[in-house]
Assembly symmetry: D2
């Protein structure tokens, strides 16, 4: 009989749906060594009860403080907007709950450093939900890079493009307000591209950047409000291993709904991947002679990461599977009593890069990515 | 409070997994108007209990007869090899159970006609699981064709390619034995291409065909056995509406794991779709002037079939979602007390085409697709 | 000093332009061992003189009989509509001229057999301009198949799609008249797909087919005329080596301007190619393990057929280069006094297949591809 | 009778071949209003005579001074390494010759400014061979942007990737020596990406950059030499119109032979193009509702720039056609006595950007793109 891990989920909208689905699917396909129990769904709104019933949660609450304090709960998932992450995580850690926190981990590196320190001090398992590490094709890319198939890495290009507020008549929402959202495309999309780059290439050394707000005002209840978060950002980077990086995040890229694309070039080969075709990984290997070319690998074989747990080869997976894989890793780390990756330290490192990018954009010069206190590992 | 529909599932392997997952997912994303209950999982093998537990079934049995006779059960899903479909469906219909049957519906049109007649006589809901109709992109293709966006249809090309037994050392399994499997690539893959063609273009009028067994013998426990099912089939067709069709099914197409691809050309435009990139639909519209070209539509918008129930635009779906959508349609038809599509009549029509193809390959001439008795609708 | 080969070109429209350009380009990039001289351009129309001047021809004539009889001319290129090919070729052969003839070689196999016999009897070099054999990617595909990289060939799919008369208001031209054009999509496009299949897979054994005229009447000077040539044809084939084939030719395939696409599957791998991306060859090799996938080879390396004569790797070639390569092969065969391929025998074999396809469509049964008298080789 | 323009070509290697071919092809397909005469080919090496004969030049010389001084010559094409451009162009201008100069125009903006001033003072036609403006798809992209189809431009991404010296054993050549080549990937490839961005988006305002030499030493005759030119560069930009830009140039990008790729996103749509598939232009238009998607336009229609002069729709063009189109524009400007684009002013502007990029990489800060003296237009 496996040990039960009772989970409290804070947030019941889009992310709440994705996390709930992952917890429902998990046991059918994976065995993390413990048994997750969907204990408490926490959220605000009239639809909480109905949602909890549909998703399969045993209980609900509108107070997150109840979740982190509940002795029946072993692990907490934090899915709220970023400005609440720190307070919630500190409270959860203080109560000894394991934590899976949505990305970006905090509002900035300072907050993230406090969260990391608290989590470490509490001896809990802590993880940031950079779910795209769990796409089988991305995990395979990492594996191949680690095995040296690409040789020394020379450059990485990574972009995350969406177009949801392309229409200037798109109404003002909290994401346009810096005091609430922290940043625009750099927060949500930027944290993903930085994580992918760290996962595939390594640590950032320095960055240069520019950001822009293309639509300066948007209407809220018929009144024009100032937009204070970036519509798009471009930045370049140098990594500790000497590689160069090139990054774009934009919510104003017409035609792209959710396009996270990456290319890595090394001394022995190259890799390409794109979230909109997430089951495919393109790989080029130098030395294939007159038959050399980018090869399109359908990452659905039993020998590929995570893929064997699902369906036979060629039966493609969808976006939400990344959450299933993430919970598998999170719960396995609880079962095996070791720290999972990406941990809060990765979340902190991520913020260090994002902070440097923001500073570089303001100061209009290259900025070294600092190491926050407590993150010397 | 919604009416509960208690389901019995006969088959617990690959298809059992896909159907079970669909039933688990369904209520989170769709409301068919009734509440499915995962009552009984039926299968043979030591892993039945453990499987049922993991998938969430309330009870198990190794006797399918118990399932179809159980008064607590409202609907039965038949997922066994084809030669058992007819007997099971007749028994289920006799007991007034609604039926969702895997494809191909039966071994031939004669059996399928009996099943259709019995189901109609019993007044039950009956459906064949041609799940690819439920890919949002395919449903959208159908919608656009019905709206006349392609004009009059001129031709369709459809192929289903896999390569699992490409290696001649692949051991002999039941699929190589005609007495068990009925046919080779024509049974499993042929029924899908015929259904897609019927769904998108309409009824077949006549066919010509050739089949081939490329690897004539395979080893079973070290002994060579004769392969009696086709490795590949090619066939051409003329439809009642005058369109021409071109079809390939193969299990020996190197490099293709599960590639079902279709192109339809009409007087006003064209469509292309491919199961390995199932979220995308390519469409060409004549009359776009100097900007004309095939357009790649990511079928994940709220306005697209089924897609709105899942995630925001650009968050791609996987193969197994087709089963969720199929159960949604099946259960909705039960709730609304009307016949779903594709029904057993579609399963019968499908067999009429496949039978004609088989006959055409033997007689080496064009064969009119007959109408079986009882299927004059 | 190389021997001069004086060329007479019969036809000065689209094909005349492509051939003239090839002759102008040839000497800059290739050395066939003889020196082509653009002697005489033959055509009808007021623009003949001006065209000849622009293209670089030394003289002109409106009488093809003058070309084939001119003692100053060594080789003749026949680019007229098909019904004139036979008479011209017989006359040219009788005068000892080498011949490069446009495809299809004749109106049917009977004519083609006479042309082949006459050419052989005259001891001249004879070639049919199946120019797509000269695409570097296609030549590479052939080379790889010959080397056994694909193993035993199982199936080939080949289609040639255009849409120029998609609009039913497209006026009646000679291509819609069977008495002039011989056939519709089957003549122009059919001869290409058959040649590609013969080049890559081998000889056809038997065929089944259907053709269709979707727009039955078109207007000529305001008067409706009956269309008597096929808008589209579908056919299947069995090859002597046991492979299956699947073919579509259509002039009513919306969105396709000039799409000739082929896929070949064998026991060890697969190949894909498409004229609209003619510099690319996709290849799959079984046995690449978890990194297996279709590889996109840019066929512009010095080691690739013809490519080294042009530009550095990655500098793509256009459609007209196929004609340059064809003249290179034609003239080299003259220099080396050996028969080039594809010869009139290939043109004859091609017609044998096309005739069988036409007969199969009429008789609605599989037809063996006959061997014409005189083509027993 | 058209006026003859006698041309002298300085350089007879790779570029000499491309330019010679363009001049041979030109008159067959285009009428610039004057008649080019291939007068003198200038180069060093034993193969000059033979090359001139093969390419069709009337005379040769090994002294470029003879070309620019020859009264029989009307126009000069300068194809030598960059460090000779300035001296040659000043001499040619002093002699009143029209000039088509290869890119980059000079070694830096200072030189380019002198060349521009001299050319303007001499009243000659002057042009820089940024040939990719002459790809039909690129010219169409520009046309659509000018017409406002993309609305206001938000960002451009452009990369030029090759991999010719990927192997560290690739011997040392002049391109690795800064004193000869000026720069590495930034010179050859950088000038192209900057020109494309200026052509499609407008003038650069400021830049930030990083460059890297991945292989620090390479062997020349068995002896290690220091590499002093960049293997790769990344840079970001802000344009005067507020758009953001993101650029990569690399000669160490495994798998890319000659990949120049660009994407432009605007308030109403997006464009994508790639040199390795140069006949295709992808375009997205916001507002297409549920059928919105990137559309692949084959830019071979008579209504597309330059395409109508060649072949029917769907017959793709190759890389070298860009040179034909460039000479057409150059000669037409001579015939019509007006300045062509891209002129030496564009060459100068290009250098201003490249110089700023180089400075930004050294100073590690954003650098405003200056306006050189004499280029205030």
């Amino acid at each position: 009989m496996k040990r039960a891990i009772h989970i409290g989920l804070i947030g019941h909208k889009f992310m709440g749906k994705a996390h709930s689905h992952a917890l429902r699917d998990l046991a059918m396909f994976f065995d993390p060594g413990v048994q997750p129990v969907m204990q408490t769904l926490c959220g605000l709104g009239d639809d909480l009860e109905e949602t909890a019933r549909r998703y399969g949660w045993l209980s609900t609450t509108s107070r997150w403080q109840d979740v982190v304090a509940d002795p029946a709960i072993d692990a907490v998932s934090i899915l709220t907007p970023g400005r609440l992450h720190c307070e919630m995580a500190l409270a959860a850690a203080a109560n000894g709950k394991h934590i899976l926190c949505e990305k970006p981990l905090a509002l900035d590196a300072a907050e993230a450093a406090r969260m990391y320190a608290a989590a470490e001090a509490a001896g809990i398992r802590h993880m940031v939900n950079f779910n795209y590490r769990r796409v089988p094709a991305v995990a395979l890319a990492r594996q191949w890079i680690e095995e040296g198939r690409l040789g020394r890495i020379f450059h990485i290009r990574c972009s995350y493009q969406q177009d949801w507020p392309l229409d200037p008549e798109t109404p003002f929402v909290w994401r346009f307000d810096k005091s609430v959202a922290g940043a625009g495309s750099m927060a949500d999309k930027g944290s993903h591209v930085v994580d992918l780059a760290r996962y595939l290439v390594g640590e950032f050394a320095e960055v240069a950047a520019a950001t822009e707000i293309f639509v300066k005002q948007r209407k809220e209840d018929g009144v024009q409000r100032e937009v204070t978060t970036d519509d798009a950002a471009v930045f370049t980077a140098r990594f500790h291993n000497g590689a160069l990086g090139l990054f774009l995040t934009s919510r104003m890229a017409a035609g792209h709904k959710n396009r996270l694309a990456v290319e890595v070039n090394g001394s022995k080969g190259s890799l390409r991947w794109d979230l909109e075709r997430l089951n495919e990984l393109e790989v080029y290997t130098a030395g294939d002679g007159s038959a050399a070319g980018f090869r399109n690998v359908m990452v659905t074989e039993a020998s590929h990461p995570y893929a064997g747990a699902w369906w036979p080869p060629g039966h493609v997976l969808g976006w939400e599977h990344t959450f299933v894989h993430q919970y598998y890793e999170f719960l396995k780390s609880i079962a095996e009593q070791r720290q999972p990756a990406p941990s809060f330290l990765d979340g902190l490192r991520n913020h260090e890069v994002l902070d440097a990018v923001a500073q570089a954009a303001v100061e209009k010069r290259w900025i070294e990515v600092p190491r926050a206190r407590g993150a010397e590992a």
